[in-house]
């Protein structure tokens, strides 16, 4: 609980950050807000690179659509990776082993029967 409180106070709020960055890109921030974003740009090479890249976009207005699309695909990737994982787990189910054992036993019996008679 106290940890959660601490998290609220820490200025890490990436969702809002993305929103802020979009506003910054579209020149929708006033000077002092722009300054805050720029201060972070100077601190953070990742952010700075990203901003330089985004500023090269010819059409910034389609950016939210692009973001939405990428996030939708991300969700698909996450879901399909979960499915794959589920399949992997199902392979570990006991009936697989029972089947293998039964087949082996049948082989042995067949071998004995063939050699004896």
């Amino acid at each position: 609980m106290s940890n959660d409180l601490k998290n609220i106070l820490s200025n890490l709020n990436p969702g809002i950050e993305q929103e802020k960055l979009l506003q910054y890109l579209n020149n929708h921030l006033d000077a002092s807000e722009a300054h805050e974003v720029e201060k972070q740009l100077n601190e953070d090479p990742f952010l700075n690179d990203a901003m330089e890249g985004l500023q090269e976009l010819k059409q910034k207005s389609t950016l939210p659509v692009t973001l939405h699309q990428l996030n939708k695909n991300l969700k698909k990737q996450i879901n399909s990776s979960k499915k794959k994982r589920a399949e992997k787990i199902s392979f570990q189910q006991p009936w697989i082993y029972y089947t293998i054992i039964i087949l082996l036993v049948l082989c042995v019996i067949a071998y004995v029967v063939i050699t004896r008679f």
Binding site: D4, N7, I8, S10, L12, N13, P14, G15, Q18, L21, L22, A31, S32, A34, H35, E38, K39, N42, E43, P45, F46, L47, D49, A50, M51, E52, G53, L54, E56, L57, L63, T66, L67, Q69, L70, N71, N73, L74, K75, Q77, I78, S81, K82, R85
Partner: protein
């Protein structure tokens, strides 16, 4: 998944949850926070919207498939490195870029530690002023306007007559030089 629900959780905590239960949903939440940044970085290197989109998805896939293999400490730095690496590889495959991949890649984690290091040490105002005087005129002017008077790039630009790109580089170089000066002074003590 409800995005708002996870807002208060820090990257580090999400990463820990993922390492604990290997549930990719945590990764989904984590990655979604960086979609815009990833796209931006890919744009910067690849200069093409479609390629950038493809690359973001490749990076997502790479993270989903490979993160569990490593014990990553700073997710953000690691992600930045993976993304940059991916873009540079793409450029290299197209022959636009010759190797030179490694040097800048590894530094980001160390950077974060170094930054903390610098921040934790106490700086006296006097020392800071002395270091400021070592900067060249443009850097001094831009750093003062930006950091002390809290102006935006746009305002600094219209006050000084430099264009935005120049303002940005004066501030960034000024800051870097300032840091170097401060470290030097600490060393001398």
């Amino acid at each position: 998944m409800n995005k708002q629900r996870y807002h208060h959780i820090e990257d580090k905590e999400l990463l820990n949850r993922f390492y604990n239960d290997r549930n990719n949903e945590w990764l989904g939440v984590l990655l979604e926070r960086y979609t815009l940044l990833l796209f931006g970085v890919c744009m910067k290197y690849l200069k093409n919207e479609e390629n950038a989109k493809d690359s973001v998805q490749h990076v997502f896939l790479k993270v989903i498939n490979e993160l569990h293999k490593y014990k990553v400490e700073y997710f953000k730095s690691w992600l930045y490195m993976v993304t940059k690496n991916h873009c540079l590889m793409q450029l290299r495959d197209k022959g636009k870029y010759s190797i030179e991949i490694n040097e800048n890649m590894v530094s980001s984690v160390a950077d974060e530690d170094a930054k903390k290091d610098v921040l934790e040490k106490e700086f006296s105002l006097e020392k800071m002023e002395k270091a400021m005087q070592q900067l060249n005129e443009e850097q001094q002017l831009c750093v003062t306007l930006f950091y002390l008077e809290k102006k935006s790039y746009q305002e600094v630009s219209s006050e000084t007559g430099y264009n935005i790109m120049q303002v940005k580089s004066h501030i960034q170089n000024g800051k870097r030089n300032l840091k170097i000066q401060m470290q030097k002074m600490q060393h001398e003590q």
